[in-house]
Every structure is written in structure tokens, then in C-alpha cells.
């Protein structure tokens, strides 16, 4: 019984870890650069979940002040993650611009082909 309730109460963290590890797996295992960047953004998004989960109070409400409510979730992680999302899109866009340039120079976005054509030169 206590094991089951422990699982429910930590369920968020387990899913967060699954998302994070899937992102890591894609980044290492995939040779395709666009898929690598999708993996990187999966990793990033799982960190958002990791920050937002402890901020929640069951029975609380969103941190917009009103006389009708007394319990609010923690606003600080929300502000931090807002910043992280916007920085995330900036870095992913820069990565995609680099991928576009690589495609123009090498004619491929597969890492293995780029390495082998570098070897030929």
C-alpha cells in the first residue's frame, strides 16, 4: 500500500526522468542532426517539468493574487522556467541555422557521412 502511494506521489519525477533519458538517448544514438536537436529540446523540456513539479501545492491555485484564494503555488520556479523556455528556442534556432549551413557545405545532415567525407579530404 505504501509502495503504491509512494509511486503515485513520485510519479511525476519518474516520467520526468523517462523524458530526460529519452532525450539523452536520441542525442547520443541518432546520427541525424535535426533529430539530435529534437532530442536536445526533449531534454530541455523535461527540466521544465523537474522545476515545476515541486512548485505545486495540492489544493492551491495559480499565483495570481485574489481575495478569494489563500493558497498559491510557488511563483519563483515559474519565472525561472519562463526564462528557460525563451532561451531554449534561441539556442535551438541557432543550432538549426548551423545545420542548414552544414547541409549546404556537405550536402548531408547525417553525422557519419560528414565524418567520412572529412576523412576523404
Amino acid at each position: 500500500m505504501s509502495l503504491a502511494s509512494d509511486f503515485v506521489s513520485h510519479h511525476n519525477y519518474f516520467v520526468t526522468i523517462l523524458l530526460m533519458v529519452s532525450g539523452l538517448y536520441i542525442v547520443i544514438a541518432s546520427g541525424n542532426m535535426i533529430k539530435k536537436l529534437v532530442g536536445l529540446s526533449l531534454f530541455q523540456t523535461s527540466v521544465y517539468l523537474l522545476y515545476l513539479t515541486p512548485a505545486k501545492i495540492v489544493g492551491g491555485t495559480a499565483p495570481v493574487l485574489d481575495d478569494k484564494f489563500a493558497v498559491y503555488s510557488n511563483p519563483l520556479p515559474h519565472a525561472l522556467i519562463l526564462t528557460a523556455i525563451v532561451v531554449g528556442i534561441a539556442t535551438i534556432s541557432l543550432g538549426l541555422a548551423i545545420v542548414t549551413r552544414i547541409y549546404e557545405v556537405y550536402g548531408t545532415i547525417e553525422e557519419d557521412e560528414i565524418f567520412s567525407s572529412d576523412g576523404e579530404i
Binding site: 529534437v38 526533449l42 515545476l52 513539479t53 495540492v58 503555488s73 534561441a90 538549426l96 557519419d112
Partner: protein, 190 residues
């Protein structure tokens, strides 16, 4: 009740992540990533992070999907079957997952109000934000007032990223311009 809604949404999120790992068509991967971001925004609403959910839905599911699709248009839309071994990445991921799961055992229960994170500076923000800044939305007050230097740093990062993208993609336009110049004399000769 909230916990069970959350469990269902997170199960969907996990299913989509597994689909992204095994999908070969990059177009499908990008669309699945868009669905993933939108589900993540729904999860954020359940976690009371409404401002973050709004940003994730517009930036993560909107802008980022468009940017990925534009890159697919400029490059190639299919991933090759991989010749490399999956053993090493599988091993690294499993070890990282095991260590992280071990780390979660000491974390407080989901939704508890007496955890350290809720004792530090958050009560001050919630109590004083309206008097000190005049903004009822505490997240906005923190973002634009208490921690506005963070936001300045964020803006600097976006500015740098934008400059980087401009410099990288300006080379293309110049090259295309040179191509046009190369064709033009031929046209004139004809």
C-alpha cells in the same frame, strides 16, 4: 483528483516520447515534438503554471515547430537507418536513469505545502508583491521586477542568438546572389 489527471497526461507524454525515439521520418518527428510541447503546456496548467503554459504553447508548440519545419524544407526529411551500435547509448541512458531514480527517493511527496521550497522566499513574494510592485500576477512581478536582471540576461542571450543566426544565414544569401551574377552575363550574351 489532480494527481490522477496528471498521471494520465504524463502517460500520454511518455508514449509520445517513445514514438519520437523510434520514428524515422523527420517530418513525423517534428510534428510529434509539437504535440509533445502542447501536452507539456496542458501538464503545466494542471501544475498551476499558467504563464509558463502560455509561453510553452506559443513558443514550444508554435514557433519551434515552424523553425524545425523550415529547416526540414531546406535540408532532407528522412533519417537514414543507423549503422552504429545502440548498446553504448542504451547503457549510458540506463545508468543515468538509475542514478536519477535513486535520487528521487529522498524528495518530498508531490503537492506537499511544508517543503523547503515553499518556506524560502516564495512567501515573501506572495505576501508583498502586490504592495511592492502593484502587480497582482506574482510571476510577472518576479520576472519583471524582483529578478529583472535575469530577464535582461535572457534578452542578451536572445540577441546574441539572433545575431548568430543572421551571420550564419547571410552567407547563404550572398552565395545565391553570386550565383545570380554568374548567370546574368550568360543571359546578356544570349
Amino acid at each position: 483528483m489532480e494527481a490522477y489527471i496528471l498521471m494520465a497526461l504524463l502517460a500520454l507524454l511518455a508514449a509520445i516520447t517513445i514514438a519520437i525515439v523510434f520514428q524515422r521520418s523527420l517530418f513525423a518527428v517534428v510534428i510529434l515534438a509539437g504535440i509533445y510541447s502542447f501536452l507539456m503546456a496542458t501538464v503545466m496548467i494542471v501544475l498551476d503554471a499558467v504563464d509558463v503554459a502560455m509561453t510553452e504553447a506559443s513558443v514550444g508548440a508554435g514557433i519551434s515547430t515552424v523553425v524545425f519545419l523550415a529547416t526540414l524544407h531546406l535540408t532532407r526529411a528522412r533519417e537514414y537507418p543507423r549503422p552504429r551500435s545502440v548498446m553504448l547509448p542504451l547503457f549510458v541512458s540506463s545508468v543515468v536513469a538509475a542514478v536519477l531514480v535513486w535520487g528521487t527517493f529522498e524528495l518530498p511527496r508531490f503537492g506537499a505545502a511544508e517543503t523547503p521550497i515553499h518556506q524560502h522566499i516564495a512567501p515573501h513574494y506572495l505576501k508583498e508583491a502586490k504592495r511592492e510592485t502593484g502587480v497582482p500576477n506574482v510571476v510577472t512581478a518576479v520576472l519583471a521586477d524582483y529578478r529583472s536582471f535575469d530577464t535582461l540576461g535572457e534578452t542578451t542571450v536572445i540577441f546574441t542568438g539572433g545575431i548568430g543566426i543572421l551571420v550564419l544565414l547571410r552567407g547563404r544569401r550572398r552565395k545565391r546572389g553570386e550565383d545570380k551574377d554568374a548567370v546574368d552575363p550568360g543571359v546578356r550574351d544570349a
